[in-house]
């Protein structure tokens, strides 16, 4: 069977600004990336994975992601996630997934109150399909962050639960850019098919631009999308 390009839906909210970079990166890694406007009520029928991109949906008014979670497309995204579909939230997408209750915790203003835009080192805490399948356990990834509200917070008892359940997948390894609790950079939900991370893998897919490490995460997602689409076609 020839390898087909699996459809990966990239949701575009008003104020998203990394949607096209995400789509370009996913396409370069073998996906059929489809931009889906937030007012749509359905994902494309053959969607194999969903990406909620970075940006400033609804101007970050009230709290980051608090308004976008009520966008019409989010009901379909929740359903897709409930059906086991892989959903990746990057930066603002992570904030939206937390506000929507699809991921634990919440993102708050950086402890420094500064917007931080630089490469950070991330440690892969666990091989967590479908998001870090292509990584090695303990591998250090160089991926940029660029956010003002990237300080992930959860109460201590919840952090302990997440640690025990292996839901903390990515941690800041050499300095914490935001003040995130327990150096958390990326978490998955309890079923493991929804992940959010503050760093931007779509900005690290070419060595010419500093690092291709983000490609490991996105390519893992594309692999999972392909498997899902092929399984559905059988």
């Amino acid at each position: 069977m020839t390898e087909r390009r699996p459809a990966v839906a990239v949701v575009v909210f008003p104020g998203s600004n990394d949607d096209r970079d995400a789509a370009l990166a996913l396409a370069a890694l073998g996906a059929d990336a489809r931009l889906v406007w937030h007012a749509e009520e359905q994902l494309p029928e053959d969607t194999g994975a969903v990406v909620l991109p970075g940006g400033f949906s609804y101007g970050d008014y009230l709290r980051c992601g608090a308004i976008a979670r009520f966008s019409p497309i989010m009901a379909a995204v929740s359903q897709f996630a409930a059906d086991g579909g892989p959903v990746l939230g990057i930066c603002n997408g992570f904030q939206i997934l937390c506000e929507a209750g699809l991921l634990p915790g919440v993102l708050r203003p950086n402890a420094s109150l500064s917007f931080v835009c630089r490469d950070v080192a991330l440690r892969v805490e666990r091989i967590a399909p479908p998001f870090t399948t292509r990584c090695e356990p303990g591998q250090l990834l160089t991926i940029p962050v660029k956010n003002g509200e990237g300080c992930w917070y959860a109460p201590p008892e919840l952090v302990r639960e997440l640690e025990e359940a292996g839901q903390i997948v990515l941690r800041y390894a050499e300095g914490n850019p935001s003040g995130a609790v327990a150096d958390v950079a990326g978490v998955v939900d309890d079923a493991g098919n929804v992940m959010g991370l503050m760093p931007h893998p779509e900005h690290a897919v070419d060595r010419l631009l500093g690092s291709a490490d983000g490609g490991l995460i996105l390519a893992s997602l594309v692999d999972a999308a392909r498997e899902r689409v092929m399984a559905a076609a059988v």
Binding site: L62, R63, A66, I67, F70, E99, G105, V106, R108, P109, N110, A111, S112, L113, C151, Y153, A154, P155, G179
Partner: protein, 80 residues
Amino acid sequence: MRATVLVRPKQGILDPQGQAVEDSLRHLGFSVAQARVGRVVDLEVDAADEAQARTEVERMCEQLLANPLIESYEIEVGPA
């Protein structure tokens, strides 16, 4: 009905904005032990009476205006 929602960062939650305000106030020579920064939402609500307005505003807080993980809220309701 007029309603005011006061949203506060929960105690124990790091509040970098409050910290910055506190530092600035000290810098200005004020003696401040602590500053916390929250948010006020003023609303005009269609409701038959105060009880109904309060119930409505509570639902608003739970769904959108506050995130219970990090914020607490207080509601005041009065005639328009």
